[in-house]
Structures are given as C-alpha cells and as structure tokens.
Symmetry: C2
Subunit: 268 residues, 2 copies
C-alpha cells in the first residue's frame, strides 16, 4: 500500500518533481535532461500503475486517493495528499483532475523486441506535435496496432501533453526508434514487413489496394511537409487515402487511424 | 477592392467586432445573442471569402493584406490595417495569424435543400465540444462527405474555435438541424438514406458490413455517453468500428473519419 503523507506547504521539497509542470520537460538533473513521465488524472494514473512505468510517487487530493485505492494496494511509494489549492500552486496552474503520478523514464525498448510479435506498426517521420503523437497512440490502442516507431525528427512521446492526449496509451503501446534513418527500415523489411508510405499525392495507389502484406508498416510524415522523398524511396509502395479535391491533407493521427482501420478490415 | 483604413488606437470603436474575442461568442446585441463568425488567418479568411459567409470587415497587419490581395479584389468592405500589438490589445490575446475576418451569420440552411444532392452525411447528437465539431468538418471536407446534420444538444459549429480547427471547412461543408429529434430522422428515411448508428457496443455489426445503402447517414454521439437509446432505435442498424479489447472509444471526429473512409471504399 502507498504511504500517505499529508503536505500543506506548497514549498515542501518533497513536491519538487511536480513543480512548474509547464516547464518540467527540461530537467538538467536527470538523464538526457528530460523530465519525469507525468500521468494526470485517475484513468491515466491507473494505466501508468499497470505499465512498465513505475511511479516513484503520487500527488493528489483525498478523493482521488480513494478512487485509486484498489490500484495502489501493491504500490510501495509515497502518496502526497494535499488540497486542490496547494496542488495548483505547486504545478503552476489549476489542474482539475486532482491527481498526478510521476515515473522515471525506463530504458528505451529495443526495436527487435518490439517487432517480434508485431503485425501492424506505424512509423513516424518529422511528427513534432505532442497532441498528434498522443492521438496516434490512442488510435493505435483502440484499433489494435502493435507499435509506434520513430524515425527522424519527432517529438517526445513521453512529454506530459502527449501522455494526456493519448489517455495513457503511450504508456501501454510499445514504441522504439528506427536507427540510421531511413536505412534502418531494412530491419523491418528483413522481418517481412510491407513498407507503405502514406502520401496525399493523387498518383499514389489507394490505400485499400496498396495494403497487401501479412505484416504491415505504415510510414507517416507531418501535416504540411509530409514524408521526405528519401524516406518514401526506402518503402515498397506509396499509398493515398482517397481525398476530395481542393481540401487539405488529413491530420496525421486521423490518417494513421484510417490505416489501422483498413488493416482491421483487410488483414490476411 | 477593400477600403484600407489605418487604425492605431486600440480603443477605436470601429474595431468593436474584434474586441475580447475569448468572450465574443455572446453578443446580446445580435440575433439569438450569438457572436459574429470569425475567420482567423489567411487560409481561413480565404475560405470565408469564397463562401456564403460574406465578411463585413477584416482586421490585420499589412503583410496579410498583401497575401490576401487577390482574394479581396471584388470585396467592398473595410480592411482595418494595424500593428500586431494593437491587434493583440483589441482581441485580448496574442494572435500569431495576423488577420481576422468577421461575418454575420447567414440564415440557417434548410434540411431538405442540404439533402437534395447529398449521398453521405453525418448526424451528431450531444457532441458539445467545439474542437471535435471543427475536426468533424475538416474530415468531412477531406473525405468528401456532403453535409453535417445536428440533432439534439450539440455545440455551435460557428464558434470561433470550431471554425479554426475545421480550417475553415465549417464555412464550406453544408450543415443543417434535424428538427423534432429523433423523429425528424424520418425526413432522411423518406429520402432513401440508410440510417446507421455508430456505437462501441461489441454486439453491433462491423461497420464494413453494416454500410450498404446507396445513400448513407451515420449517427454519432459524444465520447463517453454515446448516442441515446432513443436515437439508436430510430435508425436502421447499429454498427461498430472493430476495437481492441480494453481500450476507450475513439474520438468522435476520428470515428466519423472512419465512416467517411469506409464510404469512399464501398459506396455503390
């Protein structure tokens, strides 16, 4: 069971891991200078507690402690119990979810391990928006994709906003980096993945026809620039989602959702 | 051509339509007490200028006036030219898009008119989040859905944030209200639409099998509560997007995107 510790003083140093959360993604005192992984709210805290991200402490109001009691029976860390007002002063803004959990970043997963059982993965290049990354993980979890892989120039999936928007699924859906981008895509090819570039280019093959592999990896770039030509050349086929003329490309996490959906529809 | 009027004083009453935009959705002086329709940025202003929403004025910095010059040649309204600092003071926050256009709300479209040529529509019930409504219009435009219809208890699609998130497509994709909810769905049935409720219920029919009509209307409820039983009973079939076990339902605009995508795939 957690040790409940009542704290009334917002300057208490035991709350330092929760201080000024809007800038807490930079932590020069921690490995790589990156902040702790922060879960906000009961649902996301529950998902953290059930994940490989073990909290080092929680901070919250009494009511949330009660709601989490069953999830906390085998957890041996402090729960700093305080008021909503003290929480707001510590984190630097009003937080209406009433509970936070903080975890160290575990070691990055190995690409080969992540791919071992996977049959459907998304690979991102240049996706630097935390909300899009968060939605991507939510959609992957909902539609049964097995992993998200990161090529070059993507935002940190463990940033607080990405964790929140993913509804905690970034803590559950495995992710890894593809090294030596884009040549490292050969690791997937060697494992039998069909590599599909998603592009708005009208000359590309409709997604429903392009997706034929037993194992499939769908590459997605940021809205606007899209995938680099360099990355697309390293794939087997360029596919498009049929779009109405004169419109913009879809949001990248929506495009990914459609690829995952197509996969549930057609997976051999 | 617009009349360019230089304004340096943020208290100038000619800028009143742009004042305190964060609360400008309430305008007791206007019909129904609702605010003007506000387009933010060059792209959305262009879409407004090409729509049935005619601006009554624009406010922006000189550079944006230049970028919009071709779109403004046949527009006979004032363009209030000012600095980024004056704009920020007038609207109440820093706005990095540099131009705004304001339009009166035109008359609501007639449901029968909207349905005349339509083959694919979404119908919303209880969707009260402006960002979700905005994304829904963006997805409808991108994937070629013909209209969005509103049943009970939905948020205002012309609210500033919905317009922005839709990237201006709320000004282009027709929308209308379904009166006498949910009985008014008979108007669609009489016109030959297959009425499909989208639900996470695992006993429902997979969407790919359920969607068989030549004309299709997909009903979507808010995340969490979903559609009311009352509304679902008024439809022909309950359909689900195949979801992974133990996950949440998808975001409502993502679910709509999948229905529109399925439609592009299977429309007879």
């Amino acid at each position: 069971m957690v040790h409940v510790i009542d704290i009334a003083d917002p300057s208490d140093p035991r709350l330092d891991d929760y201080r000024d959360l809007n800038s807490s993604d930079r932590r020069p005192d921690l490995p790589e200078g990156k902040g702790l992984v922060i879960a906000e709210g009961v649902l996301v805290a529950q998902r953290m507690l059930a994940s490989r991200f073990s909290p080092i402490s929680l901070l919250g109001v009494d009511r949330r402690l009660g709601e989490l009691s069953e999830d906390l029976t085998e957890v041996d860390v402090p729960f700093y119990r305080t008021s909503a007002e003290v929480m707001a002063e510590v984190v630097g803004f009003h937080l209406n979810r009433g509970v936070l959990a903080a975890a160290h970043r575990p070691p990055v997963l190995d690409l080969e391990d992540v791919l071992r059982e996977a049959r459907t993965v998304a690979i991102l290049e240049g996706v630097n928006d935390h909300e899009n990354i968060g939605s991507m993980f939510r959609n992957a979890a909902g539609l049964g994709a097995d992993a998200i892989l990161f090529g070059a120039a993507c935002a940190d999936p463990l940033y607080r906003r990405a964790v929140r928007v993913s509804m905690g699924h970034v803590l559950r859906v495995p992710f890894a980096r593809v090294p030596d981008w884009p040549r490292g895509l050969n690791v997937l090819r060697d494992r039998g993945f069909q590599l599909i570039s998603l592009t708005p280019n009208p000359t590309a093959v409709p997604l429903a026809h392009a997706m034929t592999g037993e194992k499939v990896a769908v590459l997605l770039g940021a809205e606007g620039p899209g995938l680099t030509e360099h990355a697309m050349r390293a794939t087997d086929v360029r596919a498009r989602i049929p779009m109405a003329p004169g419109t913009d490309s879809l949001n990248v996490s929506t495009a990914a959702a459609m690829a995952f959906y197509e996969r549930t529809r057609t997976a051999p």
